[in-house]
Symmetry: C2
Subunit: 463 residues, 2 copies
């Protein structure tokens, strides 16, 4: 079983309002020490990575504006996810960093340089969580008044990744950097290739300006379970995040992802799948449940509804809290509702109030509350039922939730022999798959390697 | 007198080929330790900032391609300038960070968030070096086949800064973040404003998604002495870098910059001007001159000509090294030549070979070689003649040049009472001007403040 720490450069990532809790330090998200502490705790518990989510806009569906998100601190305000990483890397040795960026926010050339640079600075500990769409508020702030259609987004993202792979894999040969002090030759220009990309969305004729980093292509992370999203993951993803309230829903997503991966000609184990989960634990189950009730008491209904409204694209502000969720005429809500109802054994009617309380700690993922043994049981059962490789651990409070996992749950899992007791040396990719630093031959990106099928690599413009 | 450390995320920033020198560590530019060491040395010597230059393309004028720049490591390969900063900030307390970005490389919305985030993480130690143009190779890789005209570039940059100021200064009021745990109110939405920018190049209706950082607007750095560049600096720059071979040329630039600043209604001392200089020093003048000769011996003629050709836009590869520079039919070359010839008392004929040797250590700035006292004399004379506030210290080798300055020149200047012996507490802006963390009222950016002339701030779209 593997863990990531799921965080965001904001207050209240997935637990709306828990910045109110006296033990929560998320309002310190602007301090470097806060980030360094997160990385250190994650590394002390042998987590694969600190995975940093991102949005570039506000949640403005609830009430038709951004007021409630601002008032409650619902993923607002939010900072850039990449900038604290070098400080976290300097304070740690092994833990990886999964960084979310959006294929619509930046041209692929400077973006590819950013990840190469960070992969160098972290000695190969970087993952890229590829996101292809924005919150509508972010689209508007980037000057896009008509959002791209869902599939069009993915088509553009496909080409974005093609450019990125060409830059990372196809420009510099492994022995291009010569560093011959005697002859004064730094690089052999015959071994640095112009990628010659001329596509529908991007025109990138030249070289990647950065020399290859340990992993070349960062470990490609992806989330999303739509058919087009799964097709995208099948070709590109090495780590996939799923987030759904019940094991049954997750199991179905895992099946579809693994099938798509093998259909794409890749081994089934070439993708690591993490399920989002929020763990609330303490030495005894009683203490854990009291802790959970305390967290719920510090959440805010409006903050949770602002988050849920944004995710579902439906303004829930016009409903009475006691109204049944079934009253909301929306396919998105009904599909969420179906998932939620599977979550309980009872056939209780879900009300607006329930979805707020439920989203208030842990977003749309399962919440596992209990003693270390109870949580370990729940994790193992969830893993067996779903076939996931591990969990993307969301935070109720920071650093408390991480500390509790590190102190209580990880030792319990280790004693059961199901959790690592040390790190593998090497890059994030090698830690995840044990097969070296680079993309495997079965991955789409390897096609663009120097020496691979270089039909798209064009040196004709070189003198 | 004030110093910055002038560096770049590359081998051989301004001393082409000196990565060959046995004491030079620039090939370690991909390591975090390298950057942390630079920051620590700069802070130990009370430097204002580590100033990180950038290009996003290759020098491909010499010989008509990028082969010589690659072979000699002439600012190639190159990494992103911003990503090591948080690690440098975690290892230091006072030194600032001047980071170069290009107004054509990224949309102003994510860019503004990047600088707000970093200003938070560094507790207000960030400067933004605004660059408005690319190397042609970078333009091509960003899909721009027809470069923008020089003035058009600046017009677009003007609007880019307007958007940035609105986001940084005009969106969040100082007391917008309430952090009221009892009431569950993180921010007061009435105090967070939509900027409502609808311009020629950008359409940004919404809020800045990040809460205000210590400085709000990072200290605005700028280089460039063209008439339009000076007009741009007059309205925006708080720190200006000049780079010219002789005091006479620098003095003229300083006069024009200060005149433009006062013409723009700003106090003359609201801009700090640094001249680029390369210092080569040792305990005795004899040792210093031997050190300089050793550096020149490790430079590469082709690497230097690749750099000079890129800067002047003229391919110098077709000339014999002994040919007089006067043979090169180019206005850019002739204006450089005029500057170079002023640099020596003699009326010697400058040849291609001379410009290569001269550009090989320290680029286009003066090189000051001598004992600590000789260098201090030269710096003081240069400062008196030109009216600059300090120097942007380029590196012959890293960390040797910085170490030599810290060990030998700074104590000499301190003993003369002309160099700081401690840091002022506070943000970079407060350290530079002693008047608080925020933009002064006389600065263009202050116009966009909440409570200022908010004619452009439009809250009408708020619910």
């Amino acid at each position: 079983m593997r863990f990531n720490a799921f965080v965001m450069n904001t207050v209240s990532h997935l637990s709306p309002g828990l910045w109110r809790h006296p033990d929560d330090r998320t309002p310190d998200y602007t301090d470097l020490d806060y980030w360094i502490e997160i990385a250190r705790i994650a590394e002390s518990a042998y987590f694969d990575a600190v995975f940093i989510a991102d949005v570039l806009g506000t949640y403005d569906v609830y009430g038709g504006d951004d007021r409630e998100a601002l008032r409650r601190g619902t993923q607002t305000p939010v900072g850039d996810p990449i900038l604290a990483v070098s400080a976290m890397a300097a304070a740690t040795e092994h833990v990886g960093f999964g960084i979310t960026t959006n294929t619509e926010a930046e041209h692929p050339v400077p973006h590819a340089r950013r990840f190469t640079t960070l992969d160098h600075l972290t000695k190969g500990r970087v993952g890229w969580n590829v996101v292809t769409g924005y919150l509508p508020s972010a689209e508007r702030n980037m000057g896009r008044t008509t959002p791209l259609a869902h599939d069009e987004r993915y088509d553009r993202a496909d080409e974005y990744l093609e450019v990125a792979y060409k830059l990372w894999e196809g420009s510099w040969e492994d022995d291009a950097v010569v560093l011959d002090r005697e002859r004064g030759v730094f690089a052999d220009p015959d071994k640095v290739h112009h990628i010659g990309h001329h596509g529908e969305h991007f025109d990138v004729p030249g070289i990647h300006v950065s020399q290859p980093s340990p992993q070349r292509t960062p470990v490609v992370f992806q989330a999303g379970a739509s058919p087009r999203g799964i097709a995208f993951a099948a070709g590109n993803a090495e780590a996939v995040f799923v987030a759904a309230p019940t094991a049954a829903v997750v199991a179905d997503q895992v099946r579809r992802i693994r099938a798509a991966v093998t259909d794409a000609g890749r081994p089934a184990d070439s993708v690591v799948i993490y399920a989002m989960a929020t763990i609330v634990t303490a030495p005894t189950g009683e203490e854990a449940r009291a802790k959970y009730e305390d967290y719920v008491a510090h959440s805010t209904t409006e903050g949770a509804l602002a988050l849920m409204s944004g995710w579902m694209g439906v303004d829930l502000s016009g409903y009475d809290l006691d109204q049944p969720l079934g009253d909301v005429q929306s396919n998105a809500v009904q599909s969420h509702l179906a998932a939620f109802q599977n979550r309980t054994a009872s056939g209780d009617i879900w009300r607006i109030r329930d979805i707020a309380a439920w989203g208030a700690v842990g977003g749309v993922g399962p919440v596992m509350v209990g003693s270390p043994a109870e949580v370990a049981d729940a994790l193992q059962e969830f893993q067996e039922t779903t076939g996931v490789d591990g969990f993307n651990c969301a935070q109720a409070i920071i650093p408390g939730t991480l500390e509790d996992i590190a102190e209580h749950v990880v030792p319990e899992l280790q004693s059961r022999g199901v959790y690592p007791t040390s790190y593998t040396e090497g890059t994030l990719r090698h830690k995840l798959f044990g097969r070296g630093d680079r993309l495997p031959d079965s991955h789409r990106g390897s096609r663009y390697r120097v020496g691979g099928d270089l039909s798209t690599i064009d040196d004709s413009k070189r003198g």
